[in-house]
């Protein structure tokens, strides 16, 4: 039986982690490769890198990070941020990433999803969705709207419609981030996750709001997510990934316990 995946997310800017991550002995680590190694050893099932480098001149630094990560950990990892063309995808995949994720760019240019799926297979293309709760309206009947550029720009695109459309275009997976829950550490947006996950036939990774292992339990059961993204709760060493997995296993959720 398939296990639910626990996926730490690392934000990278100019080749360094944007928030230092506390490690053994409370040492602050800024190197994404070392952070990836640490989470690999703690039992992460996959790792997500999000490149927030502003200038495109600095992109080569990220390619170097991807190459070194691929030589260090032997689980799947994905890279998002700044991917605008099939050629951008190719560079990241050839450097060793299993998957690429596209977010704002996919909303602005939907054919990018099908071009990526055609070139590398659907399993390589993750659709990142930043979603905000809104009044249900003719434009947004689900009551959830797609936002882009880190949540600053409303698009008028209904989130449920977009999830289904992206699946049709060839997205292999959805990473669903609730802008309302993001950063709160008060728990995932369960209603949104359940809505999207039960209306598409591709895996959904829940994102935004994780602060306690109970939050993961809820989104993986009631929210029917296939995987849960975590950040601060492990970056600040409130929990290790193996502690979270032990808790989930004890709650009757199938997780990978040997690595």
């Amino acid at each position: 039986m398939l296990s639910k995946r626990i996926i730490p997310c690392l934000d990278v800017r100019d080749g360094k982690l944007t928030k230092g991550i506390k490690f053994k002995g409370n040492i602050d680590i800024g190197d994404p490769v070392e952070a990836a190694r640490e989470y690999y050893e703690q039992g992460a099932d996959e790792i997500v890198f999000y490149d927030i480098t502003a200038s495109s001149d600095e992109r080569d630094i990220m390619i170097d990070v991807v190459t070194r990560v691929a030589e260090t950990i032997f689980i799947p990892f994905s890279v998002g941020g700044g991917i605008r063309t099939v050629e951008d995808m190719r560079r990241v995949i050839l450097a060793g990433a299993e998957k690429i994720s596209i977010n704002s760019e996919a909303v602005k240019n939907p054919p990018l999803i099908s071009e990526g799926a055609k070139a590398f297979g659907s399993q390589c293309v993750v659709l990142g969705m930043d979603v905000k709760k809104v009044e249900a309206s003719v434009k947004t009947p689900s009551g959830y709207e797609m936002v882009i550029h880190g949540g600053r720009v409303f698009t008028g695109v209904d989130a449920l419609w977009w999830a289904k459309e992206a699946e049709n275009l060839g997205a292999g997976e959805i990473c669903l981030n609730s802008i309302d829950a993001d950063g709160t550490q008060d728990g995932y947006e369960i209603t949104l996750t359940h809505l999207i996950s039960t209306n598409v036939n591709i895996p959904v990774i829940a994102s935004g709001g994780a602060g306690k292992p109970e939050h993961l339990r809820d989104v993986l059961t009631r929210g029917t997510a296939d995987a849960a993204l975590i950040a601060s709760m492990v970056h600040y060493r409130h929990y290790t990934i193996s502690e979270i997995k032990k808790y989930l296993q004890g709650s009757g959720i199938r997780t990978r316990m040997t690595w």
Binding site: S3, I75, P76, Q123, G172, D226, A227, T258
Partner: protein, 211 residues
């Protein structure tokens, strides 16, 4: 030297990276003249069966791969590499290499577990119930899980070739072996330590059968 067959099917460098990490010399190539000098062969790949077979034919690898299997070289199939050794794949209605009798089938759309519909592709970590003590799967514990990503699964005609079963709404063959050929549906190069152990075992294996 370990030859890794390159037929434009996804990211083959991940297998090479895993072997390099294990200290095993390897070479990724699409040239039969290079590959035939290898003393063992890995046949990896992700993608679609139809395009894979077209690429293999173009490089005449469809003729060479059965020959290498026949002459007793240890051969390891991974994912799509495993699927195209069968006679036929439902994916793109593709005639395949025919080394192993049987077909590759699509997971049905109505798969369920505990009354919940299961998604396709089968993507993520799952168990493999190994049926015997094959040298390539030695020192793998029952708790180990492996990384899968596929919508089609191998169905050999002869169940006796199956050495690993996996449960995804139904049981399917996730590992099989016949003499010097071993083939897995999961990705050992992306399955953490247990996966690396399988690759290391394969690199030491002489090609003999299980007990």
């Amino acid at each position: 030297m370990i030859g890794i067959i390159d037929y434009q099917a996804g990211n083959l460098t991940s297998v090479a990276r895993a072997l390099r990490y294990l200290g095993m010399p390897c070479r990724v190539s699409d040239d039969p003249n290079v590959l035939k000098k290898a003393n063992r062969i890995i046949f990896p790949g992700v993608g679609a069966a139809g395009e894979a077979m077209a690429n293999l034919r173009q490089k005449q690898l469809d003729l060479w791969i059965p020959e290498w299997v026949g002459e007793g070289k240890p051969v390891l199939g991974i994912c799509l590499g495993t699927q195209v050794i069968f006679e036929y794949s439902e994916e793109n209605d593709t005639k395949c290499l025919g080394i192993i009798p049987g077909a590759v089938k699509r997971f049905p759309n109505n798969l369920q577990e505990d009354c919940m519909p299961l998604k396709i592709p089968h993507m993520g970590w799952n168990h493999v119930a190994f049926q015997n003590d094959h040298p390539v799967f030695r020192d793998i514990t029952d708790e180990a899980q492996f990384y899968f990503v596929h919508s089609y699964y191998p169905a050999p005609t002869d169940d006796r070739l199956v050495i690993g079963w996996t449960d995804y709404g139904q049981l399917f063959c996730s590992a099989l072996a016949r003499r010097n050929l071993v083939a897995v549906q999961f990705h050992p190069e992306k399955s953490g330590r247990p996966g690396l152990q399988i690759l290391a075992n394969f690199c030491r294996w002489g090609g003999e059968d299980a007990e």
